[in-house]
Amino acid sequence: MEGQEQLMLVMGNITKRFPGIVANDHVNFELRKGEIHTLLGENGAGKSTLMNVLDGIYYPDEGEIAIEGKRVNLRSPLDSMKHSIGMIHQNFMLVASLSVIENVVLGLESQGFYIDKKSVAHQIEAIAKKYNFRVDPYAKIWQLSVGEQQRVEIIKTLFKGARILILDEPTAVLTPQESEELFGILREMKSEGKSIIFISHKLNEVMSVSDRITVLRKGRLVGTVDTASITERELAKMMIGRDILFRLERKDIEQGREVLTVEDAQAYNDRGTMALNKLSITVHGGEIMGVAGVAGNGQVELAECITGLRHLVSGHITVEGIDVTNATPCTLASAGVNYIPADRLGVGLVPNLSTVENAMLRKYRQQPMCRGAFIDYGAACTYADGLIEKFDIAVPLKNAPVKVLSGGNMQKLLLAREIEENPRLLIAEHPTRGLDVGATEFVRKTLLEQRDHGVAVLLISEDLDEILMVADRVAVMYEGRIVGIVDAHHVDIAQIGLMMAGAVGVKA
C-alpha cells in the first residue's frame, strides 16, 4: 500500500547544529502528494529550523532532501521556489503600499521589465476563483484585513507555481470563521494534489484539518501518526512528553470592589483614525476579565491608554477610585497598574540589555538599588537572582543580552518583574502567544494566582480557548467598543466568534 502513496518530499536525517545546540538531530520527514501534514512541537522543538532548511534559508550540516524522488540542493529561497516550495511566514512578507498585483510579481524572474498588470490580474482572479475566495488584484495591501493579506500570500506562492506549501501558524491572527475559511481553501488545494505542511500549536485545529501529524521534541523526531488514529490528549503527550492540565484548577473567590473603570474612552490609533469609540468597561478585584476580539479592533490601544502610553481624547479611567486619565506611566505604576505587553521585545523588555538590567527596570529608582545618582548593580544582581529562582527562569548567562532567552523564559522574566510590583491591576496582552505548552500553562496559572490574591486582571487575547479557560467574564471588542460582555462559563465559542466578527451584539 505504501508504494501507492506518491511521495512529494522526503527529508532524510536532517541535522542542523547551532553553537551549543542541535536544532535538528537526524530528523526524517515525508510529505505525500495531496496531503495536509501537520508539524507539531513546542517552541524550540526544531519546527522552524526544519522548515527554514526546506525554504533554503539554512543549509543542513547533514542529511538530504528529495523532491519527487530527485535529490535537490536548496541553497536559497530562490532555489526552493524553483523546486515549487512556497512558504507563508507568520509575519507576512508583503509591501503595504503596493497593490496585490505588484506584491504577487515581486521578485519573479519570469516578468520582464514591463509588467502586464491585466494578465496578472486575470491570473490572480483565476487562482482565487479556483479556491472559492475573492480578492481585488488592484487593492493596496494596507487596505486589506489580515485574513485577506494571508490570502494574498497564498496566491503569491501559488502564482509562483508552488506545489508544496508551508504555512507557519497561519491561524494565529484569524477569527474562528476566517480560520474555517482558510481550512476550506487548504482542503481544496489538497484535492488539487498540492501538498501542504501546516505548523500549529492549536491541537483542535490540527485534529480537524490534517491527514498526518509529525511531532518533534527538542530537535528530535518523536514520530509521525495518522490523525484518525490518535486523540488530542495522546498528541499533547507526544509533544511535551507528559500529560498536561487541560483544565486549570480555579477557586471560587469573592469578587472584590471595582478596581478599573473605563468610561466612554475615545482615542486615536497611530494612523490617526478613532481606535476606541466611547468604550466602557469595569474590572473588579479578584476577577479576570477576558477581552476577545480580532486584532486591530482597538485592544492594543485600550491597553496603551490604561498604561499611560497613549492619550485619551475624551472619557475617564479610574483605578481604585483615583482618576488616572492620561496619567504618566510613573503615576500609574504607583497606583498599582502593571502590564504584560504583547510585544515582549518591543515594549516589555530591552533586547540588547542583560537579564539583570531588564529585571531591574521597575525597581532601579528604589532602595537598595538606587544610591543617589548611582545604581548598585550588585543589589540589582541579587534582585534578578531572586526572580530567576522564584519563577524558575532558565537564564544561561545573566549578563548576556536578554534577546538570547527563549520566548517562554522572556515572558517569565517579564511576568516576574511585573508581579513583584504587587499590582492592583494587571493587564496581560496575548500573554501566551508563541509560547510552548509548558510556559503557557505557567503563565495561565500565574494569572489565576494573581486573581486569587484579589488582583484585577484584564486579559487581552485572540485565543478564545485561553480566555474561556481562565477568564471569569468575557468582553468582546469590535471596532473600538465592547459589543457584549458574557459569563465565561455560559457561552459557546461560535457565539463569541460571531460577536467578534461584528455579527451580533449581546448585552450582559
Binding site: L7, E64, G69, R75, G346, L349, N352, F374, V404
Partner: protein, 369 residues
Amino acid sequence: MLRFEKRDKTPVRLRVLVPICSVLLGLLVGSIVMLFARVNPVRVYGAIVKGAFGSAYTFSETLVIAVPLILISAGLCLVYRMKFFNIGAKGQYIIGAICGSYLALFGPATMSRPLLLTLMMLLGTLGGALWAVIPALLKVYWNVNEVIATLLLNYIASYILWFFMYGTWRDPGSHGFPLSKNFALNAQLPRIIAAPSRLHIGLFFGVAAAVIVWIIIRKTRFGYEARVLGENERAARYAGINVVKTVIIGAVISGGLAGLAGIAHTSAVLRVLQLEINSDYGYTAIIAAWLAGLDPLVAIGVSVLLAALEAGGYQIQIVMRVPFGIVGVIESSILFCLLAGEIITHYRVTLTRRLSTPLALDERARGGA
C-alpha cells in the same frame, strides 16, 4: 560556495584578532594605492610611525590632536548609546571656540589667569551645549531628525565664525587676514611640556571626561536610563523614564564636551581665533567613538591612533613630498576593512560543498515515486 550565518556569541579571540587583521589588511590596500602613486609604502608607513611616535616632540604633537578627539568622542559615546545621532560636534566645537574666545578678546584685562581661563572654558562648554540643545529640543518636541538638524547647524556655526572673522572681531593689524588679535597670556591655556611642544592641560580634561562619561554610562541611573532609551524607547516610556529630560541632558554633555574641545584647542594651541580652527575633529571623533564600540575609555586609545595617522600624515607630506590625500586613502582603507571585518565577528562564514553523508534516501524516494 559561501554561506553566512548569524552568530549567537562572538568568541573573544575573534573580537581581538579581527580588528588587528582588518587594520593590517587596510594598510595593505593603502600600499597598493601608494604603488600607483609611485611611492614606497614601507617608507611611507615608516615615516608615518616616525612622524607620530618618533620622538617625544612628535608624540606630544600627536597628543595635541588626540586631546579634542578624546573630549568629543567621550560625549558622542554617551549620546550614540541613547540613539541621539549627534553629528554636529563640528558646529558645537566652533561655537564653543567662539564663546570662549569672546572672553579672551573682550574680557576684563585685569582678571587673574586661573579665573579667566576657568570662565573661558565654562563659556565654551556652555556654548557647545546650547548648540546641541537646539537639535535635541527639535527632536523631542517636533520629531525633527537630529542627523539633519545637527549637520545643518555645522554650516551655520561655520558662517557665524566667518561673520566674526571678517567682521568686528578681525584684528585691524592683521593685514586683512581673517584673524582675531592674539590671545593675551592670561587667556592662554597652559602647556605642560617645554616648547616647541604644544601639548596642554586639555589632555587632563580629556582623560577626566572619558573616565566620567564611562562612570555615567556604567554606574549611574542616568546612564542606565540612557541605555534603556537608546535600545528601546517604548520600554523606556513604559518604565517611566523622562525621554525629553534624558535626551536634553545627553545633548548638553556631548555638546558641552565638543565646545570645551573647541575653546581648549583654540586657547592652548592656536592662541588666536581664525577661520581654520581644526573643527573637522568633530567628524573624526565620530569615527573614534564608533571604532571604540561607544566605550569612552577605549575611545582614548582609538583617538590617539587616529591622531597618529593625522600627525604622521603631515610628516610624510613634508618629508616625502607625498600628497596629504594619501593619508585619507590609508585612513579610509583601514576603516573600510574594519567595517568589513564586522561581518566576520557577527556572522559565521562557511564554505560548503556537496554533502558527504550517504543515505538510503534515494532508494526510499524512488520506491515511493
